[in-house]
Symmetry: C2
Amino acid sequence: MSLIEPRTLKGFRDYPPALMIPREQMLETARRVFRSYGFAPIDTPALEYAEILTGKGGEESDRLIYQFKDHGGRDVALRFDLTVPFARFAAQHIAQLGTPFKRYHMGPVWRGENTAHGRYREFWQCDFDVIGTTANAADIEIALVIHDLLTALGFERFSIRLNNRLVLNGLLESFGLADRAVPLLRALDKLPKIGADKVREEMERTARVSSDQARAVLHLASIQGDNASILDRVHAEFGSNSRTAEGIVRLRELLAVAAEAGVPPERLSIDLAICRGLDYYTGTIYETFLLDKPDIGSVCSGGRYDNLASLYTKQQLPGVGASLGLDRLLAAMEELGLLQAARTPVPVFILQFDSARLGAYQNLARRLRSSGIGVEVYPDAKKIGTQLQYAERRGFTLALIAGSEEFAHGVWKVKHLATRSETVVSDADLIEYVRSKLT
Amino acid sequence: MSLIEPRTLKGFRDYPPALMIPREQMLETARRVFRSYGFAPIDTPALEYAEILTGKGGEESDRLIYQFKDHGGRDVALRFDLTVPFARFAAQHIAQLGTPFKRYHMGPVWRGENTAHGRYREFWQCDFDVIGTTANAADIEIALVIHDLLTALGFERFSIRLNNRLVLNGLLESFGLADRAVPLLRALDKLPKIGADKVREEMERTARVSSDQARAVLHLASIQGDNASILDRVHAEFGSNSRTAEGIVRLRELLAVAAEAGVPPERLSIDLAICRGLDYYTGTIYETFLLDKPDIGSVCSGGRYDNLASLYTKQQLPGVGASLGLDRLLAAMEELGLLQAARTPVPVFILQFDSARLGAYQNLARRLRSSGIGVEVYPDAKKIGTQLQYAERRGFTLALIAGSEEFAHGVWKVKHLATRSETVVSDADLIEYVRSKLT
């Protein structure tokens, strides 16, 4: 029989333990933080009716969607993000679930992207939102969650950049340019990349605003300083517009509550140039940068929107949420040395020195597990050298060895695999000793 | 604009929090147990080249596979189980990973099944295997993992039924019927459903064995008693065949090591009628029954196989593993009252009594979270009645309330939502008080 070549599909990849252990740890940490705020998990199917998913991001985006006919001839599609399925989910279930509704959702999404730039066609997203309320308390909570996510993942040096679309929208309104917000924001979003001159040019060209108007927008976006002085200046210069004033009030309250809740103030920065390209957002905007890896871009972004599910229901569902950039964070953590190169999820290895003693090895293993210490027992009574080589390659911390001599004396040899040093410990003291070496 | 009807695809379902919270808890418990034995997580893509997946389970099975052409015109398919992708994964990566290799894999699979019997077309599987060794220590470990999974999930009354294909294969060999094993086992697998007479009839018809031979197989399968006496009788009657004898030795060692490791012996039962229909298995066989819900069938099943990945590699990869039946277990846990009907993942609710105090509420919330206690702050300063109604509906345990009077006295009102009783607790004692009420 001829063999089938074992390979993954173009644009897809396997997750062996060295990739999967960190992804699982990150997802677990995120789940713990979400839950601690009362966010509840949901899941939606990978496959949806195509009409649910298509037409949401324009033709370009539709081309990336995996679409086909199912066994019943239905037009179906694989989800390309978690936002559109959440909109459909909310429209369908919100009456039973009630509002406010706080959910997180983690799962794979699929896009038939060009793979030239190392992009994968399957990747995980991790979204969290509060819907059914316009209260600023929800906006504030999203900032607190982002903060706690980053610290729980082991980051200390990061900055959550905050803006509020109302500030700019108020300015546009006072110019009579409210209807030009979309092209203006798209142009402004490019400020860090193409610079002020080119942004102004684009604003004049695509939004058909005057040079003075474009300058005013750019002036607003470029106000610098500490948080209080930025907000004071915006208030002084533009606060006569009620939308702008409301944006300022909401940002001020966010900063004050976060500080009182115990968030170090230096981690929250007002940045009026942050606007995100999406038309979707209408209020608070969040982006999060690692100070030691600013070049990778925002690792947690989101914002407030007026209406989640207008395509599926007449019920207005305002909300606020953000999305954790798992792949970016994993890459950053790897580069910053925050990930251990683990190929085993447990620290302790028991050699099978004498196959007749398997019961004793498994007995010790179960005692260690009951104490919360993970342990692997080698399945074959191979040569000690072979077993130790396996243990070192997998990255265990301690190897426990006992043969008839050790059993006769009621002791275990404990080998520290990093230093290859050895200690003899009595069976009675072993669990405490192992614990002390692992912390 | 006309609305799109928000609905899930036929055969698919959403997981709102009431379904998703228990699924997440079960997956987390399983992960904790797998890891404690040194099993490492892996993941594989949802989509594979169709040639990897098709032709594995016959035409009937191929018809259930979701297949289509991707953007590059490749024939692709959604995985219908986790075994075939693992075989492909192992063939591709085992040289780098080394053996023995212990993995678990949890994820959704897709089958275009008939939905008449409440079957879903997307469901999760949860597999764990040790590959690259024929050692009985691995077979024993799988039984220990199954045991610890069930107890970690909260079950006490369950039975892991054990058999070894070698026992029956030896008998067939001694009759010169080794080549009839597949149809004989398929018939035998139906014993609990159709009874001995019909099984014998089927054996005679499909495996073309004599009536005496069929009787002998049924006689072996029906040997009853405690574990030791079953194995003694089989040894006495059939142990002259070396395969049968080896099967008996392996089962005896499994029972002895598990007992020495601390597994209550009554949870492991030799059952020679357990054979599982699959041709694939060649050694130890596992099925697991809940004594209070035997009718739902086995909740964790598996066995030893000679070669995992023969379709993709010439390297022989023997292994042993099992699969946890998540959906059956969730259904059983619900019926047995082992699941709480949780619609919130946290126990504590803080009312937003006074919107000017939001910072103080969030400060308390963060202090509680630092102590490991999850807490939700209501986002709007709505009427107390509305907020309490929300809290009761979501299923919180405690509600914390403070307005200017409480702040002036440095206290919180603690409302026990089940009894609606109220206590006043000082801010300094609050965390300890809340903790005492939650355990």
